[in-house]
C-alpha cells in the first residue's frame, strides 16, 4: 500500500506545484506557450524578410495600397486595450472586483473593435482588388500595377505575405477576445476572482500583451517599411 501511495503521489503532485522556476503552473504554461508563439511568428516574419529582400524587384511603397491612418488608429486601440488589461490585473491584485470587471470588459471591447476594423480593412482591400494572390484583374489595384505605381513582379508576394501575417495575427486577437469573454462571463462576473486568486486574469493578460507586442512589430514591418 505504501508503495502504491508513493506511486500515486509521484504521478499526481499536489496542486499547485510550484517547484523549479517557482512560478505557478498556469503562468509557467502560458510562458512556455508564448515561447512557442515567438517561433511561430518568427517563421512568418522570417519568411516575409526572405521573400521581400530576395524578391525579383522593388516592393510596393508604404501607403499606396494599405490605409495607414486606419491601421495606425487600430494600433493605438490595441495599445489602449493592453493598458486596460493591465489595469484589470492591477485592480484584482488590489481586490477591487468591480474595477477588474470594468477594465476587462473595456479590453474585450477594444479587442473586438480591432478585429472589426481589420475585417473592414480586408473587405475594403478586396473590393479595390488587393487579394492574397496580388491584384485582381480589372480592379483599381490592377490599374495601379499597369501604370507602374505598384511593382508587377512583387505584387503577388506582397498580397500573400500581407494577408498571411495580418490574418494569423487577427486570428490570435480573435482567440484572445473569445478567451477574455469566456473568463468574463464564467469567472469575473460571478465573482470567482479575488485578491488571492487571479491566475486567469494574469495568464490571459500575458497572452493579450504578447498579441499587442507582435502587432507592434508587424505594424512597423508591414505598414511602415
Amino acid at each position: 500500500m505504501t508503495h502504491a501511495a508513493a506511486t500515486v503521489d509521484q504521478m499526481q503532485p499536489p496542486f499547485p506545484a510550484e517547484r523549479g522556476l517557482d512560478v505557478y503552473n498556469k503562468k509557467l504554461g502560458m510562458w512556455v506557450f508564448l515561447a512557442s508563439e515567438v517561433m511561430f511568428f518568427a517563421a512568418l516574419i522570417g519568411t516575409y524578410i526572405i521573400l521581400r529582400f530576395g524578391a525579383p524587384g522593388e516592393w510596393a511603397k508604404p501607403g499606396i495600397v494599405l490605409n495607414i491612418q486606419i491601421t495606425a488608429f487600430n494600433t493605438f486601440l490595441l495599445i489602449c486595450s493592453s493598458v486596460s488589461m493591465v489595469k484589470a490585473y492591477a485592480a484584482i491584485q488590489d481586490g477591487d472586483v468591480g474595477k477588474m470587471r470594468f477594465w476587462l470588459l473595456l479590453t474585450i471591447l477594444g479587442g473586438a473593435t480591432f478585429v472589426g476594423i481589420q475585417i473592414f480593412e480586408y473587405v475594403h482591400l478586396v473590393e479595390r482588388g488587393f487579394v492574397p494572390s496580388g491584384a485582381r484583374e480589372g480592379s483599381e489595384i490592377a490599374d495601379l500595377v499597369a501604370k507602374g505605381t505598384l511593382p508587377a513582379a512583387t505584387i503577388g508576394l506582397y498580397g500573400s505575405t500581407f494577408f498571411t501575417m495580418t490574418g494569423f495575427h487577427g486570428f490570435h486577437v480573435t482567440c484572445g477576445v473569445i478567451s477574455m469573454t469566456y473568463l468574463f462571463f464564467t469567472k469575473a462576473l460571478p465573482g470567482k476572482y479575488s485578491r488571492s486568486d487571479y491566475a486567469g486574469i494574469e495568464t490571459v493578460g500575458l497572452y493579450w500583451h504578447f498579441v499587442d507586442l507582435v502587432w507592434i512589430i508587424l505594424f512597423t514591418i508591414v505598414y511602415l517599411i
Binding site: Y24, W31, A35, G54, F76, V86, Q93
Partner: protein, 91 residues
C-alpha cells in the same frame, strides 16, 4: 499568488507607446531621410515599444531571472532562425 511587486505607472507607459507610435508615423511619412537610416530607426522604435510592453505590461522587469530567461531565450533563437533562412536565399 507570488507576483507582488512595485507597480509601474501604466499610464506613463501608455503615453510612451502612443508617442513612439506617432514618432514612427512621422518618421515613415514626413521626415526626408535616407531609406536605410529610416529602416533602422523604425526597427529601433518598434523594438523599443515591444520591450516596453514586455517589461512593464508583462512584468518581466519584476520577474525572477529564471522566468526572464524563459522569455528571452526564444528571441535569439528566432533571430538565428531568420538569419539562417536569409543566408540560404539572399546572401
Amino acid at each position: 499568488m507570488e507576483t507582488a511587486h512595485k507597480r509601474p505607472n501604466y499610464l506613463l507607459i501608455w503615453a510612451y507607446l502612443a508617442i513612439l507610435t506617432a514618432a514612427e508615423l512621422a518618421l515613415a511619412f514626413r521626415l526626408p531621410i535616407a531609406t536605410n537610416l529610416k529602416l533602422l530607426l523604425l526597427l529601433f522604435l518598434a523594438i523599443w515599444k515591444a520591450a516596453l510592453v514586455g517589461m512593464f505590461f508583462m512584468h518581466l522587469k519584476f520577474e525572477r531571472w529564471s522566468l526572464r530567461i524563459l522569455a528571452i531565450v526564444p528571441l535569439p533563437l528566432a533571430v538565428i532562425f531568420i538569419l539562417a533562412g536569409m543566408s540560404e536565399h539572399i546572401w
